[in-house]
Every structure is written in structure tokens, then in C-alpha cells.
Amino acid sequence: MTSLNFEAIFQSKIDDEVKIEPKDWMPDAYRKTLIRQISQHAHSEIVGMLPEGNWITRAPSLRRKLILLAKVQDEAGHGLYLYSAAETLGADRDDLVQQLLTGKAKYSSIFNYPTLNWADIGAIGWLVDGAAITNQVMLTRTSYGPYARAMVRICKEESFHQRQGYELMMAMAFGSPEQKSMAQDALNRWWWPALMMFGPHDAESTHSDQALKWKIKRKSNDELRQNFVDVTVPQAEYLGLTVPDPDLCWNEERGRYDFGKINWDEFWNVVKGNGPCNRQRIQARTKAYEDGAWVREAAMAHAEKKEQRRMQPEAASKAA
């Protein structure tokens, strides 16, 4: 069979909604695109632990502290789960982590923004996880089987996080005047970066067309962004908070919200490394990786010695 046939069979599977599995033939570019996307997603989970972890030691009640610890732990779990999905495509976790640390691989730019007051923890759950879910619900139907299945589980946990985030925002928005102003401040800072999470406009998105054809993506960036705005604006209204967009208004004719222009200069700046925390995030991950090297080496050496002792019990006991 020629590679043309392989490709035709592959595309017909995609068209018929048959999942592609690790051992199936797939075009190199499909494999590369998926490794890039899944590992970016994994990196985002791991880097995303940092802005939220920033408040664990300052969580204002034991209940909130438990919720936050559990949430950040879930993110580590998602990271592991996604690296494993990338490994089914022949990638190596350690290589992928190296790409993150050297800046070769990207992660979601949203995590380059700082968490400055306690309401940020609510805003991240509500807006950032909310935006992520909008994206990820689509990915539960993505064409690559292991990724789709990983996303089913991740989505369940993310929607739990999103509800908890909104509940935190409610406590703040309906609390004291100081708490309400913390909530408003958090919304002011997270709103636009959350809209940017969906990526560039469709016309400028480099990877979108092919990803749609392969059903890796199933909806366009602009479509997803609009869905997110339509769902989220009424939630902000319920909280009595003001979305920081003077152009935001309900469009009766479209039955959807119109919203203002995104500052793409800011978006590209953060992507290029000039966000408020890009440098700090990578430094923190690099420090954890380097400081932890001796621990990982010790675990490896112990496992090898244990195996040796198992294989040669006599030699080991003589040596001892």
C-alpha cells in the first residue's frame, strides 16, 4: 500500500468519527501537532500550579485551604496524565519537560499573570478554568483516542474547580466592601487574559485549518471565545461585578454579546516572554527540576540496587 492509501484510510476514519489509536498509522504532521498540543496542555497544568500555589499558605480558612490544595494537586495529576498521553505518541516526558524549561515549548500565557489578592484564586477557577473547559469539552471528542479519553476525566475535575471558583467569587462579591473590591480587582485583571486564552482570531491562527480537518480541534477560536463570553457575562452580572469592557453589549439580532477589541499587542508580548511573570515561572520550574535532580537520581539508583540484590541475593549478602 502506498502512503497515499494510508492517508486516505486515515482521513476516512477521521471523517467517520473513528478514533485514532496509538498503534494506528497517522501522518507525521498529525503526530507532531498532537504532541505539541498535548504537551503544551501538560506544561500549562504544571506551570498553572504556581500562581495558585502562591496562595496556599495564605488561604483564609481551613476549608478554602483544603479546596485549594486539592485543586492544585488535581493539576499535577492532569499534567501527569497528559504527559502519558503524549508518550503514547512516542514522545518522552523528560524531553518534553526540557523543552518547557529551555523555552522551546509554550504553555498557556494566562499563567504568566500574577495572583495579587485572594479573589484571584476565585477568578482563576471561574474564568481561567471556565475558558479551559469551553476549549476542553470540544477536546473530549477530539480524533486521537487517548487524548479524548484523558479530556473526559480532566473536564469533570475542571468543571468542579470552576464551580468552586465561582463559589469563592460569590463569597467575596457578596461579602464586605473590601472583599467586593478584591473581587472586582481580580475580574479587571483576569477578564482580558481569559479571552486571549482562545488564541488569535481565526483569520490569524496558524494551526487552525489543518487541526479542524483532522478533528483535533472541532470549533474555531472565535466561536469558542464567543461561547465563553455569552456564558460568563450573566455570571458576572449575578455577582454584581462590572466586566471591564465598555463596548460589551447584548446584540438582540445575533442573540449574543458583542464585545470590545482584544489587545493583541499584549497577547503577543506575553507569548514572546514579556508577561509579568514569564521569567519567574520558568525559573521556578527550573529550580524545582534542578534541585530535585539528586532525589530522582537517588530513587533510580536505589531501584537498580534493589533489582541487583533480587537477581544476585548471594553476591549481595557477601558484599554486605
Binding site: 496556599i56 495564605r58 480558612s61 481551613l62 494537586q73 485572594w118 464586605s176 539508583a301 534493589k306
Partner: protein
């Protein structure tokens, strides 16, 4: 009884807090998950204990009043648990010493005459059994791993050994409750704790200098300088904006 429950609660709260500081910074993702898991268990245990204290005191306080509105001298945790994380060997050794004690303590507490305490101990013992298994296994990995990891573990033991004795040295509160059969006599618990520790020490190829001085006082509210900083961070929001719901 209240003082004793606060000892248990404060140990769990402060050690859980220290472990939470690792979140996102651990040597590998699996360790991030494991350390957070232990932090979650301990913080959950602290919550149950503070709720019980609130119930017994009957002053209309809630769990957060104890965690967030007491000053350092009112905390009754042992000195060991407030010691800084240091490198992973320090964190791990601190955890192992605490787990070895905590496991045997809770095993004995399941027989407490106090029904609530016996029930609490039985429930927590499942979690603590896992903690001890985790920290014992990692003691072996570090001790038996590389020359470097063995040296780092030895350095951690050297730094922290002086805080390892307080846990199982009874203070007046513990002596009195032991007489009433509510908690075990810690002197009787010691051999089992020491046996576990020396079993792991031998396997991990590490030892302890004999006759090191043992610090005490945390259980009676005399702490190291570290606790004040833990509390100023932990209690910041509750202190800056008093009386609010979060």
C-alpha cells in the same frame, strides 16, 4: 483534654502547612502529588480536631478561630513540625520522624477510653499508615540511593535529630491523660517507635550520633522562631480583615 486535642491539631495543621509550601516545587510530579496528599490528610485531621475542641469548649468558636486567631504561645505543636522544609531530605526526615511517632500513637489511641478520640484515631490511622509507608520508602531511596543522597539524608538527620525526642516525651497534659487511660503512656510507646526508626535507619545505611541534646517546649507553647512567621503568613487575611466570611 482540650489542651491535648490542640496538641494533636496543631501538629497536623503546622506540618500540613509546611508540606503545602512544596506544592508546585517538588523534585518530581509524583512527589508533588504525594506531598500535597499528606498535607490534605493532615489539614483535614486538624479540622476535625478543632471542631471537636469547639464543641467541648462550647464558647461558640469554630475551627478557624483556633487556626487563625491564636498567637504563637497558644499553639501546642511540637518543635519538629514547625522546622523549615530545607531540602527534600530535611522535609522527608521530618516527615518520617513524625509519622513513626504518629502511627504508633494513633494505633494506641484507637483503644482510648474517650469514644470520640478512639473513633478519630481509627479513621486517621488509615491515612497515617500510608504516610509512614511513603516516608519509610523514601528514607530507603535516599539512604541507599547515591553517595550524595546518603550524605544529604545524614545532614538532615544531624540538623533535625535534636527535635525528634519531644514528640514521645510526655508533658504534664499527657501524663495526666495517660493516668486516666485516655491516651497511652508515651514511655511505653517509645520502644516500638524506636524499633521502627532503627529498622529503617539500618536499611537506609544511616545512623545517629548518640547522646544528642533533645529540645522540648513546643507542646507547652514555647516555640522556635519559625512559628511566628508561619502564623503571620497563614493568618494574614483573617487578621487584616477581621470577622469576615471567606
Amino acid at each position: 483534654m482540650i489542651k491535648y486535642l490542640l496538641q494533636l491539631a496543631d501538629n497536623a495543621l503546622i506540618l500540613g502547612h509546611r508540606l503545602g509550601e512544596w506544592c508546585g516545587h517538588a523534585p518530581e510530579m509524583e512527589l508533588d502529588i504525594a506531598l500535597t496528599n499528606i498535607a490534605l490528610d493532615l489539614t483535614g485531621q486538624a479540622r476535625s480536631l478543632y471542631q471537636r475542641v469547639a464543641e467541648l469548649e462550647g464558647l461558640g468558636k469554630d475551627e478557624d478561630d483556633y487556626a487563625y486567631l491564636r498567637d504563637a504561645w497558644e499553639f501546642r505543636n511540637a518543635l519538629l513540625v514547625e522546622q523549615p522544609n530545607g531540602d527534600f531530605a530535611h522535609t522527608l526526615f521530618r516527615q518520617f520522624v513524625f509519622d513513626a511517632y504518629n502511627y504508633h500513637l494513633h494505633q494506641a489511641l484507637t483503644h482510648s477510653k474517650d469514644e470520640w478520640l478512639a473513633g478519630f484515631a481509627a479513621k486517621s490511622l488509615k491515612e497515617i499508615t500510608y504516610h509512614l509507608r511513603f516516608s519509610s520508602e523514601w528514607m530507603l531511596r535516599l539512604g541507599d540511593g547515591t553517595e550524595l543522597s546518603n550524605a544529604k539524608l545524614k545532614a538532615a538527620i544531624e540538623d533535625l535529630w535534636g527535635y525528634s525526642g519531644e514528640l514521645a516525651t510526655p508533658n504534664d497534659v499527657e501524663k495526666e491523660l495517660a493516668q486516666q487511660g485516655i491516651i497511652p503512656d508515651l514511655n511505653l510507646l517509645k520502644p516500638a517507635i524506636e524499633a521502627k526508626m532503627s529498622e529503617v535507619f539500618v536499611a537506609a545505611n544511616v545512623g545517629v550520633a548518640a547522646g544528642m541534646f533533645m529540645h522540648i517546649g513546643g507542646k507547652d507553647g514555647r516555640h522556635s522562631e519559625h512559628l511566628g512567621f508561619i502564623l503571620s503568613e497563614m493568618q494574614f487575611l483573617q487578621r487584616a480583615y477581621p470577622g469576615l466570611e471567606w
